[in-house]
């Protein structure tokens, strides 16, 4: 007979579902607090606020929570501990949320010391989660990379401005020697960076075969050596692993046939057991986060239902005034006082707008006069400019249409050395990548020259202003 009896939903399950969902969310996000903090935030308890501010900061910051964002102190202990959050971080979170279009005013009105507003922060977090695949995006950012990578374009880096540098409070004047020191340090650091990059390029591109036959000392440990000998290659001597010609030596070693050789990280893994253990740990944490993300996706419905209750507990907020408020007719007496003040403010605002418009027009007229008025040369110049701009636009459009079919290089690419003539489906020849980089370099150089020219003109103008002043330029480098 087997009519299966329907199992009654266990009420205990229902009670557990929410904390488990939130716990899964916590494990996915960087620096996320425990479910208990979320619960306290719903009731706007003060201890929840700092933890949630920190969470929002880490989520909104384009750097992953692993890398040391050294301008701000990171959480050391458990996130629940109410260690103080910097005012600058709070302001930054507010400004980023505002720029992304977060509608609730109450968040902006929270105090900068980060001590209150748990509920509002919870709502902000939910808003971010609802807008897009936030956990997945964060996981992509902090993904452990095993290959040797090279960035091809900078759109991600350009599009996401990081947290602001801490403002240096200048008490009065700054000693110019300090500025010169910092300037020199910057220049030297830049040179060191360039030298390091060149070193890396030189070492990855060196021809290794001479070294193999010439050198006799092998300083690899036995396990790495055995593995590589099995693969029929011979390790080089002396230089630490990341600097050797890994790609050539390790041909045929990789389990993934399409890649064919090991990357620097993978070779280090074989060579250095301690490094291998650390890499393994990082991979395990990433795996745990990925699993948590999956679990979150299964359980998130419970979370959203709970968020509805959180929203219900919030006091009703007036719709955000994006335009000037419609002021009702001023009433008499005390009730009409604030309304009258509002009206006065409105008038003042209108007056200011009028003033601004006049100032803009005056400026524009002055500029046109400075440029040369409405004479025929001016018109001709203007026409020439318009033609040039139209040409540039047409060229851009044409170039874009040409390139539409090809895969545009974006983001970091794994370096793979291959004998094959045909690149893989998603691959990109090194030549194409270098072309793209060269084009960008040319563009930046042109911009640099233009800016230098502008600076020179400005300097010349300043020199002209004070005839008695002698300018001593620094020695040419």
């Amino acid at each position: 007979m087997g009519r299966r009896r329907r199992r009654q939903p266990d009420p205990a399950d229902a009670a557990r579902a929410l904390p488990e969902a939130i716990a899964a969310l916590s494990r996915t996000l960087p620096a996320a607090p425990s479910p208990e903090i979320f619960r306290r935030a719903k009731f706007d308890r003060p201890e929840a606020a700092p933890a949630l501010w920190r969470l929002l900061f880490h989520v909104l910051s384009p750097l992953s929570a692993d890398s040391a964002s050294v301008s701000f102190t990171l959480v050391d202990g458990p996130p629940e501990l109410a260690s103080p959050i910097a005012e600058a971080q709070v302001r930054w979170v507010k400004s980023v949320l505002h720029s992304q279009g977060y509608p609730r005013l109450a968040l902006v009105q929270l105090q900068d010391d980060g001590s209150q507003g748990g509920r509002e922060l919870l709502l902000a977090l939910a808003w971010l989660l609802a807008r897009g695949p936030l956990p997945e995006r964060l996981l992509t950012q902090s993904h452990v990379r095993l290959g040797d990578e090279m960035p091809v374009c900078e759109c991600e880096a350009l599009a996401s401005p990081g947290p602001p540098a801490p403002r240096v409070e200048a008490e009065g004047s700054v000693d110019i020697r300090h500025l010169q020191w910092l300037m020199g340090k910057l220049q030297l650091r830049w040179r060191n960076l360039m030298a390091g990059q060149q070193e890396q390029c030189a070492l990855l591109g060196k021809n290794p075969w001479q070294r193999i036959f010439c050198s006799t000392r092998l300083s690899w440990n036995l396990s790495g050596l055995q593995l590589l000998l099995l693969c029929g290659t011979c390790p080089p001597a002396d230089l630490p692993a990341p600097q050797t010609q890994i790609h050539s030596y390790t041909r045929g070693c990789h389990s993934d046939r399409s890649l064919g050789h090991l990357s620097v990280t993978e070779t280090e893994l074989l060579r250095d057991p301690e490094g291998g253990r650390q890499l393994l740990q990082r991979l395990e944490t990433e795996n745990a986060r990925l699993e948590a993300a999956l679990e979150w996706r299964h359980r998130e419905l419970v979370f959203w239902r709970w968020m509805d209750t959180v929203l219900d507990t919030c006091p009703l907020e007036a719709s955000p005034p994006t335009f000037l408020p419609r002021i009702p007719e001023p009433g008499a007496g005390a009730a009409g006082l604030p309304v009258r003040e509002l009206q006065a403010l409105q008038e003042e605002l209108q007056a200011l707008q009028e003033e601004l418009r006049k100032a803009v027009e005056a400026r524009r007229a002055a500029w046109q006069a400075a440029v040369g008025g409405h004479g025929p040369e001016w018109r001709a110049a203007r026409r020439a400019l318009q033609v040039a701009v139209a040409q540039d636009l047409a060229a851009l459009q044409w170039a874009w249409e040409q390139g539409k079919g090809q895969a545009r290089p974006h983001g970091p690419r794994r370096l793979v050395r291959t004998e094959a003539r045909v690149p893989g489906r998603l691959g990109l020849w090194a030549t194409e990548a270098t072309e793209a980089l060269r084009a960008r370099e040319a563009c930046l150089e042109a911009m640099l020259h233009q800016l230098q020219g502008q600076c020179r003109q400005e300097l010349a103008r300043l020199v002209g202003v004070r005839p008695g002043l002698i300018w001593v330029p620094p020695p040419a480098r």
Partner: protein, 453 residues
């Protein structure tokens, strides 16, 4: 990354040999108080920096030897080859037969242009052997003719040809009572020219090193060889590998670059001094033990009181109370004066190095007002002991310590210049009085900048 050394003149070549010898012997020192693997990494790092590999496996120093006389170079080459453990490249040297007669102008205006191509070719060959070039280390003396004049010329050419590579000039400051009559002229011309084309001037004073040999090493008859060995020891303790970061066990790739970035980014302040502790003959080593606290305390007082060795330190000199400027602005006539630093780099090598506390060096009172200790002070460490010293510390500092010697030299040179003594020997070869005046101006500016810290 590799450093190419250019050894100029008698002084430069003799010191250069001792430096390479010290570096090599230290890196092949058995034990070193660390694991075998660590030792190998240290050796590999040192080797990559200073030596290149040749077919039969004997490391070849990355050096170019230049002198206007044959004698010293052939001595140097044979000493290196005799050791059997490392050597100089056969074709890495350039010498002539005539010498420079202690005349800066002759070295700079005659030898320089005449032999420029050959010398730069040699350097180019050495640079090509490097996988990547960190910079140049140019060893020269200030008082003679070849080292000083030709050295200034070569540095200028390196600046033109390798503008992106760093250059550190190691300068030997002559004895106050030196034998060369025109040493002060040579010195000021060298210093002023180097200030314009070099990135850092690392100075060793003969007088100071002489005292170290006499008092600390107990050497009775001090020869140049002894002095050079002390110098080499100090340089070795600065340039041997150190960890790249706190908590890392990988060795720093670009010590020259990091050193310069920490100490000499400001174009007016390029003069560096080195102090090392403990400094003693190796026989006495077995009977001494040190603690990091003791070593660092002495080193700090050496810095503050401008002492060059750990004996006879003036412990009365104290840093000024915070907030107040040092007692009276510095005047070069004051005997005991607090030595203000712009930036310091402490390098610790040996046992329990991670427990060493360098907090005393982070005292803002030690530094000038416009640079905070977090920017001004750095510490590099490695567990691997240097030579046989279980614990050793070196201090490279950009401070006022060279102001007084510089002022003395400028003063003496000016007196000679005012009476036009020996000037014709310089004008004969194209160094005019304007060049002298330019040099004086530049050095007075440097002295003033350092005094006004």
């Amino acid at each position: 990354m590799s450093i190419v050394t250019v050894q100029l003149g008698q002084c430069g070549n003799q010191i250069g040999f001792e430096v390479f010898d010290a570096l090599f012997n230290d890196s092949h020192c058995p034990g070193g108080l660390c694991s075998k693997r660590e030792n190998e990494a240290y050796q590999a790092s040192c080797k990559e920096r200073f030596f290149s590999e040749e077919e039969n496996g004997v490391p070849v120093a990355r050096a170019v030897l230049v002198d206007m006389e044959r004698k010293v170079i052939s001595q140097t080459l044979s000493k290196a080859a005799r050791s059997g453990r490392w050597k100089y490249g056969q074709h890495s040297c350039f010498c002539q037969k005539q010498g420079s007669g202690n005349n800066w102008a002759y070295g700079y205006s005659v030898h320089g242009p005449r032999h420029k191509e050959s010398i730069m070719n040699l350097i180019q060959k050495e640079v090509e052997k490097c996988d990547s070039l960190s910079g140049f280390f140019i060893i020269m003396s200030m008082a003679g003719g070849t080292g000083s004049g030709l050295g200034a010329f070569v540095t200028q050419n390196l600046q033109d040809q390798y503008s992106s590579a760093l250059k550190m000039n190691h300068i030997i400051w002559p004895y106050g009572t030196g034998e060369v009559i025109v040493q002060n002229y040579n010195s000021i011309l060298t210093l002023s020219h180097l200030y314009r084309s070099s990135d850092a001037l690392l100075v060793h004073e003969n007088d100071a090193v002489h005292k170290i040999c006499a008092k600390l090493m107990n050497i009775k008859q001090i020869s140049f060889c002894d002095i050079n060995q002390v110098l080499a020891h100090q340089l070795g303790s600065v340039f041997q590998p150190t960890y790249s970061r706190e908590g890392s066990f990988h060795y720093r790739r670009n010590p020259l670059g990091d050193l310069m970035e920490n100490l000499v980014p400001h174009p007016e302040f390029k003069m560096l001094g080195v102090r090392n502790i403990p400094q003693m003959s190796e026989n006495s080593l077995a009977y001494s033990t040190f603690t990091w606290a003791g070593l660092l305390k002495h080193l700090r007082q050496m810095l503050i009181s401008n002492a060059k060795m750990e004996e006879g330190i003036d412990w009365q000199v104290r840093p000024p109370l915070s907030g107040l400027p040092p007692l009276g602005k510095m005047s070069v006539n004051k005997e005991t004066h607090f030595n203000t630093s712009i930036a310091n780099l402490v390098i610790l090598r040996g046992k329990d190095v991670h427990s060493a506390d360098v907090g005393a060096f982070k005292d803002p009172a030690l530094y000038t007002s416009w640079l905070e200790p977090v920017h001004a002070f750095n510490v590099w460490k490695t567990q691997r002991a240097f030579r046989k010293y279980e614990k050793s510390a070196a201090l490279v500092s950009n401070s006022q310590s060279l102001v007084k010697p510089l002022d003395m030299i400028v003063g003496k040179a000016w007196n000679m210049f005012a009476s036009r003594a020996y000037l014709h020997q310089y004008t004969k070869f194209g160094i005019e009085e304007e060049d002298f005046l330019d040099s004086f101006t530049l050095l007075e500016q440097v002295i003033a900048s350092y005094c006004n810290l």
